[in-house]
């Protein structure tokens, strides 16, 4: 590290070499061909150098040129660039034409290389700041939903800070990382969660680190979808790259500082509320049982007749006895009533996002400062998020050859959460008996705040008690940023060279706290303080050489080196058994366990890129990267990743150039290989862990009375591990018609991931549970279409449509010998897994017993309790998670400053395990169970193959329906599988840009917006975008998960 510092100082000193030579001044004015007005902020550069200036407010410029400066380049966003030979002129006026075809749109590709869009041989897609923030979403990933093709974004819920998954072109790893690399201002940063939610059946969600990014500070996002696009990033690139450029003041008008201020405020509510039955009370088989979780009791209005609890026979006519009220010291006799326990619990959430950005550009560079805050109160009590972001960025020219700059970001994110699954805070809200006044009856004994009063046994906490006593919180402080110096000496008119060194860091600390207070679940509580400190250093050296060989050929070459080193420290303090309530501190627990682990990893890569352009028609790009990683076995720790791509602009062909309809056509093809490394270790011993299985808490905790023990770790490592490899090719075409009014961009890609690294489950009888080895193959075929059109442009009215279509088929080809499937999460059954010949992932669990024709077989055994009911069949794949296709449609209408935009999102196909839906039936609270007194014939066949005609239920067979639901269907996991196709009106925004002249040159835009406001889905009762887990099982498995939200709000945006 010290060496690097010395080197940097040296670089800086060496840079101060001002050149003095004869120079003369050139002046001129740049005007627009459209209106003849001067254009401010046009970049005027000497070709092959970084020497230049920008035009002033009237479009005028002036600067000194050297004798060896021959050509000037004029560039402005949205205009066609021009090159003018200086010759003997001292005044150069330029008229710029608008670039309607966006032929010269520059996109940022791997490692900050800027390229004209048309030169690309692979697919990239960008999202502008305006698209990201127009609906006021405080979460980057949800703000991207429906706006990029080939990308599936799965939010886990609508809770503040909820984790979400972004997967580009399907999964490449069963159990490992499938999320793209995030690069902010050239610096790769962490975006994944440091803690997986594991099987995702207990505990609270863990946010992923993309949550630290404030969408309001983003200037643009570029998504490198394919491996060819990303291959220069090497081993980190297999999942694609999300390149984020923050607001830096670049491209601002020079001179005056630009200040922008924005505020978005929204109100959130549960997006979908389940339908409940309102007829039957708590109990079982028609009997009132005041402490059961079931609502299979008598009719609510007959409660006063109950022989035990009814008031009609006990001097309280029309009332019934509620023991929980007695326990609370209140009058236990109440009149039967139906309560909206779900509605009572959820409140209106509130989100406000404010950001302020000040930037200034001048002829030497630009500088920006920004600060932002997001404050969110969740819809559930004691949930919320508070995030502060601050940033500073700048870039300056030191002299003709040297420039330097920096980008720095600080964030502090604090999230209050609720647990789900088997720890679900909401279990008691979702499944509360309709006759129980959950919100009204006190949650605890009047004499002891830690003695809970609840309608059921304390395997779950009373949700109101939990909200006021338990705590699930995470706080992250984070800094990331980088500084760079650039050296670009003049070498020749037709050549340029640029050397850049960038040193960046990403440092954060997250502290998590999970507290089950004294009295939780009727016990003495437990707490867990844990967290991570992560420090990453990234050193990046690149040298770029650009050579216009002749009028036909242009060559760009790049070589470079990247070193990425990360240190992480995890700590964990676990305490059980508080001495007393009210002080949930680790020091108040009877038994404490502490653990700490330290990890470091390093990746060093050497890379090169060669791009050859022929007549702006043929573009060849070749890259190679050799990576060395520390997390693989010694003899298998270096690998080479190549890529090649070719773009062919057909419309540059002489014969096609002048077809009036077709403005632009390009075909492209690419091939790449990239990989993923494992986290390899020598086999070791570890302290035993007694969690899981039937256990809620940890029944055995070492050290036991001061004695420790270790066992051979039940996950072992294959010393012959090699990196997993992704080979992919991509074909695509881009067509534009009618002067860019209609365009289509299609890509087909094919990925084959071999030598998949994962914890291969091995037979327990071998003595270990899993072996980290290579063992599996997954194949993905993806079709992506982006369609954009401007159907109407008429007298200031403009209608734009963008359609993003993705069809991704992700198939598991093979697994290690003897392995049929890989467990990704869930319970013993049902679980989410990867299986051979199936799409990835699938839901596995017990099925209905079926005949060879697939009909459900019912029991034909008159007199048996389950006569006429289905039976549990063998475990099988009962659901496929991946959708058939995704379609996002954005419409935008503009008229004189008024803009209306709407994004529709359609997911077709796919299934999920909806535990809550099944459990609402089991508990007898769903609307479906309201007709429990009617007869039913279960659809299926009898064992002899004839259609089932066995009639059960009705007044003479009163137990049958409950038997069917609580004893039969509840054990058949397939019953809980639902299709979850949906069509969502993801966002609608109406905004009005108030004319400048009214406001003394201030840009003011006001908007109203709504998110997630209409939903059509096949999933009953709940929003399909509510699920468990921040890992590869995300989006497929739900059990008392947090609900999704709909938001309505308004925003203002002020620029002056």
């Amino acid at each position: 590290m010290r060496k690097i510092t010395i080197m940097l100082v040296f670089l800086l000193i060496a840079g101060v070499n001002f050149a003095f030579a004869q120079s003369r001044t050139i002046t001129g004015k740049v005007t627009s061909a459209q209106d003849g007005m001067g254009i401010p902020g046009v970049t005027v550069m000497v070709k092959g150098t970084t020497i230049g200036t920008t035009t002033d407010i009237d479009g005028n410029y002036s600067f000194a040129v050297q004798p060896d400066h021959r050509t000037l380049i004029f560039r402005f966003v949205g205009m066609i660039s021009q090159e003018i030979v200086i010759g003997e002129q001292s005044t150069i006026n330029v008229v710029m034409e608008p670039d309607v075809l966006q032929m010269e749109e520059v996109v940022v590709t791997a490692l900050g290389i800027s390229k004209e869009r048309k030169a690309l041989g692979y697919s990239v897609q960008d999202v502008s700041s305006e698209e990201l923030t127009r609906s006021g979403s405080s979460n980057l990933s949800t703000a991207l939903q429906g706006k990029i093709s080939g990308v599936e974004i799965k939010p886990s819920s609508g809770m503040p800070g909820a984790s979400s998954q972004i997967i580009i072109r399907g999964a490449r790893s069963f159990s490992g990382n499938n999320t793209p690399l995030y690069v902010v201002d050239g610096m790769p940063i962490s975006s994944t969660a440091d803690y997986s939610t594991g099987n995702s059946v207990t505990g609270a969600d863990i946010a992923n680190r993309a949550v630290d990014i404030d969408p309001n500070d983003i200037e643009s996002i570029n998504v490198l979808k394919g491996q060819a696009a990303a291959a220069l990033y090497g081993i980190k690139a297999s999942n694609g790259v999300i390149i984020i450029t923050t607001k830096s003041g670049k491209g601002n008008k020079t001179g005056k500082p630009a200040i922008s201020f924005s505020n978005f405020t929204s109100f959130d509510k549960v997006s979908r509320k389940p339908d409940y039955q309102t007829k039957y009370a708590q109990g079982s088989y028609g009997m009132n049982v005041p402490n059961t979780s079931f609502s299979w009791g008598p009719e609510i209005n007959s409660l006063p007749d109950d022989p035990t609890y009814g008031g009609n026979s006990q001097g309280h006519p029309g009332m019934y006895y509620v023991p929980q009220l007695e326990a609370a010291g209140l009058d236990p006799w109440v009149t039967p009533q139906v309560y909206d326990n779900f509605g009572d619990y959820f409140d209106v959430g509130f989100t406000t996002t404010t950001s302020l950005n000040i930037s200034q550009a001048n002829d030497k560079g630009n500088i920006a400062f920004g600060i932002g805050n997001t404050t969110q109160d969740g819809i559930a009590p004691s949930t919320g998020m508070d995030r502060w972001n601050a940033k500073a960025a700048g870039e300056t020219k030191l002299n003709n050859n040297w420039s330097m700059g920096f980008s720095s970001n600080y964030s502090r994110t604090s999230i209050d959460k609720l647990p789900a699954g088997n720890d679900a805070a909401l279990a008691g809200v979702y499944a509360a008996p309709p006759n129980y006044d959950l919100a009204g009856i006190p949650t605890n004994s009047p004499t002891d705040p830690y003695s809970q009063i609840y309608y059921r046994s304390l395997t779950f906490d009373n949700p109101y008690w939990g909200a006021s006593h338990n705590k699930f919180n995470e706080v992250t402080d984070r800094f990331f940023g980088n500084g760079f110096v650039e050296y670009s000496p003049y070498i020749a008119e037709n050549m340029s060279i640029k050397t850049r060194y960038q040193l960046g860091t990403d440092v954060y600390t997250t502290h998590y706290q999970d507290i089950f207070e004294f009295g939780s679940r009727g016990r003495t509580g437990e707490m867990n303080n844990y967290g991570v400190t992560s420090q990453t250093i990234n050193s990046l050296l690149t040298a770029t050489f650009d050579w216009t060989i002749n009028s036909d050929f242009n060559l760009t070459a790049l070589i470079g080196n990247e070193l990425n080193h990360r240190n992480r420290k995890f700590y964990d303090e676990y305490g059980t058994g508080f001495n007393f309530g009210g002080w949930p501190h680790i020091g108040n627990t009877k038994i404490q366990q502490a653990d700490e682990s330290q990890y470091q990893d390093r990746t060093v890569g050497f890379f090169g890129n060669l791009a050859l352009d022929f007549r702006s028609m043929l573009f060849l790009n070749v890259t190679g990267r050799q990576d060395y990683v520390s997390t693989m076995p010694r003899d298998n720790n270096s690998f080479f990743y190549p890529s090649v791509s070719l773009g062919f602009v057909i419309t540059e062909l002489e014969s096609l150039r002048d077809i009036p309809v077709l403005s632009f056509a390009k075909v492209r093809a690419s091939y790449a290989e990239v990989g993923q490394a494992a986290e390899y270790y020598q086999n070791f011993f570890a302290s035993p862990d007694y969690g899981g299985g039937f256990w809620g808490a940890t029944p055995i905790q070492y050290p036991v009375d001061g004695i420790s023990s270790y066992l051979s770790n039940n996950v072992q490592y294959d010393p012959n591990l090699k990196p997993q490899n992704t080979k992919s090719y991509e074909l695509g075409a881009e067509l534009k018609f009618f002067s860019n009014r209609l365009g289509v961009d299609y890509s087909y890609s094919n990925q084959l991931v071999t030598d998949q690294i994962f914890q291969v489950p091995i037979a327990a009888s071998t003595g270990a549970a899993a072996l980290v080895m290579n063992g599996g193959e997954i194949k993905t075929k993806a079709h992506e279409v982006v369609l954009y059109a401007t159907p109407v442009v008429y007298r200031g009215f403009e209608w734009n449509i963008t359609v993003n279509y993705s069809k991704i088929d992700n198939m598991v080809n093979e697994l290690a010998p003897g392995v049929e499937s890989i467990f990704l999460g869930g319970f013993v059954t049902p679980q989410v897994r990867a299986g051979i010949g199936s799409t990835f992932p699938v839901i596995y669990g017990s099925s209905y017993l079926r005949d060879d024709n697939g009909n459900i077989i019912v029991v034909d055994n008159p007199g048996a309790w389950n006569h006429g009911m289905p039976e549990t069949g063998p475990p099988a794949v009962i659901g496929e998670v991946s959708p058939d296709f995704l379609l996002g449609v954005s419409n935008r209408f503009d008229y004189k400053g008024i803009s209306l935009s709407a994004t529709l999102d359609w997911k077709s196909g796919g299934q999920m395990y909806s535990g809550t839906n099944g459990l609402l039936d089991l508990y007898g609270v769903s609307k479906l169970t309201e007709n429990r007194d009617e007869t039913f014939v279960f659809e299926g066949v009898k064992p002899d193959g004839t259609p089932n005609d066995i009639v059960r239920g009705g007044p003479n067979d009163p137990d049958a329906y409950q038997d069917l639901v609580t004893n039969v269907l509840t054990n058949i996991d397939e019953y809980y599988i639902y299709d979850n196709s949906f069509l969502k009106l993801r966002e609608v925004t109406l905004s009005y840009a108030i004319p400048k002249k009214l406001l003394n040159n201030v840009d003011l835009t006001v908007s109203v917006f709504a998110r997630n406001l209409l939903l059509w889905t096949e999933l009953p009762n709940f929003d399909p975008e509510s699920s468990q887990g921040n890992n590869n099982m995300g989006g497929s498995f739900e059990r008392f998960s947090m609900p999704q939200t709909s938001s309505y709000g308004f925003g203002i945006n002020l620029n002056f």
């Binding site: 020598q682 070791f684 420790s708 091995i762 392995v819």
Partner: protein, 481 residues
């Protein structure tokens, strides 16, 4: 300054730095695991081997399901309810999978200990730890084969080498159990300079004499177990039992401290609440006016009286039926109790000499005294004289076995389950079970674990669709596998 000069000054140190940063040595050094030991001495391994053997293998899931099949408890919710009504769970490979894994994990760590302490190992000469490891291996192997029949052993415990171990016959496994016990006893009898286990031994605090008694007690238990196959070596049972425990103080009992270690049945109630009071067991107690009835069962907290759950057909409802009164966070797990040993003796004497055997009666009285003490009671003389003795006189072995069955409530349910199956093989249906589903669906065994069913074709073949659990007895109970 010339560019060449800059490159010279810049590029060389940078390249050197970077090349040094990715050398194989450097990268390997970075990847050193700082968080876990690569090796530990046997005494640090054996502690959790003992704990897992007691808590996970003897005390938890196996015992929970066995307590349903033996009608010590009634499964009234979720998985235990399914076991009660014989739906799904008894035939599913997932049901016993966690414990299946724990047994093999324990056997694998025992193998490491045995390798370490054997002649070639780095702790050669540590005979006592070697002997203890052999006894524990025998104990775990016996539990496994008792419940599951033929299981992998000779090809097992080689992770990454043999991926699909084949099955060994139960008869061979029992030979191995006796071999291990004999070798264990021999090793524990040797002189050693190695330090004793001391506080690392949660069972006996390193007392090698008690470990030896335990090994003999196991020989008595397993000799009786094979009665259907060995024609009844009851003299051997008595011989071995006499070399075993001499009082309750010697029994192999794993004690929980109620804070960092917690009893399985109690934790199961707190975490799951899946059991109700058994009508069948209640009936056996009331028939005998057994004073333990009032101790075994208590009302569900917050309810007034003990509601007994009907075996085989309870309502699936929590918070209604009575619960066990003997569970507590510190209720111990018995690997081999003193009362079991006395019952074994009583059975052996009674089988040899019937009512005439005063030894049988004395052993039964000793067993009952210990069994009452287990639940905090003194053996009531009225009960002994008026209720037990007449039944003993009428049919000594039957009463011994019924009393043994009652005394096993509830944590020793696995042994009760083994006894019921052994007696059935001998044609002695002394213990009347009331679950009507037993007519067609008495679980003759537990299934193999899903981790092997899904990855080991040998086990997948043996498992089939799981329905074998209702039809195929284990070898010592008269079956073939």
């Amino acid at each position: 300054m010339k560019m060449n000069t800059i490159i010279k000054y810049l590029a060389v140190p940078v390249l050197l730095l970077i090349m040094a940063g990715c050398s194989k040595d450097k990268l390997e050094e970075i990847n050193v695991n700082k968080n876990n030991p690569l090796d530990v001495p046997s005494r640090l391994l054996i502690t959790d081997v003992i704990t897992k053997t007691a808590f996970s293998i003897t005390g938890s899931d196996f015992a929970f399901y066995a307590s349903v099949y033996t009608e010590h408890n009634v499964g009234i919710y979720n998985q235990m309810y399914n076991a009660e009504i014989r739906s799904a769970e008894p035939a599913l490979a997932t049901t016993y999978n966690n414990t299946w894994g724990s047994v093999y994990e324990t056997l694998y760590n025992l193998k490491i200990i045995i390798d370490k302490t054997s002649d070639e190992g780095d702790e050669a000469g540590n005979y006592h730890t070697l002997g203890i490891a052999q006894v524990l291996t025998a104990y775990n192997l016996a539990i496994l084969t008792d419940l599951m029949g033929d299981v992998p052993y000779t090809e097992a415990l080689q992770p990454g080498v043999i991926f699909q171990p084949k099955l060994d016959k139960q008869e061979d496994l029992y030979n191995e159990v006796f071999r291990l016990l004999d070798e264990g006893i021999a090793n524990m009898g040797k002189e050693t300079t190695a330090a004793g286990l001391g506080t690392q031994d949660f069972l006996y605090g390193g007392d090698i004499g008690k470990w030896t008694q335990f090994a003999y007690g196991l020989k008595a238990r397993y000799t009786a177990r094979l009665a259907f196959r060995n024609g009844g070596k009851w003299e051997d049972v008595i011989t071995f039992a006499n070399q075993s425990f001499t009082s309750v103080a010697d029994e192999a009992k794993f004690v929980y401290n109620g804070s960092s270690t917690n009893s399985p049945f109690y934790t199961f109630f707190i975490d799951r609440d899946y059991f109700g009071a058994s009508t069948s067991l209640h009936n056996k107690l009331t028939q005998r006016n057994d004073p333990r009835d009032g101790v075994f069962f208590i009302p569900y907290p917050g309810t007034g009286s003990v509601e007994f759950a009907p075996n085989g057909a309870p309502s699936q409802v929590q918070g209604f039926y009575g619960i066990s009164g003997v569970m507590s966070s510190t209720a111990p797990t018995y690997l081999l109790s003193y009362h079991e040993l006395e019952f074994l003796k009583a059975e052996a004497y009674a089988r040899l000499s019937g009512v005439a055997s005063a030894d049988a009666q004395a052993a039964l009285e000793g067993a009952l005294t210990a069994a009452f003490a287990k639940v905090g009671m003194d053996l009531d003389s009225t009960y002994w004289v008026d209720e037990v003795l007449p039944l003993f006189t009428a049919d000594p072995v039957r009463e011994i076995m019924v009393q043994k069955y009652i005394s096993f409530f509830e944590s020793e349910a696995v042994e009760a389950y083994n006894d019921i199956r052994r007696l059935k093989a001998l044609g002695e249906n002394f213990i009347t079970l009331e679950n009507p589903n037993n007519a067609t669906q008495f679980p003759q065994r537990f299934t193999y674990g899903a981790d092997d069913v899904t990855t080991n074709l040998n086990i997948a073949d043996a498992y089939g669709n799981g329905s074998y659990v209702y039809t195929e007895k284990v070898w010592w109970a008269g079956g073939t596998r």
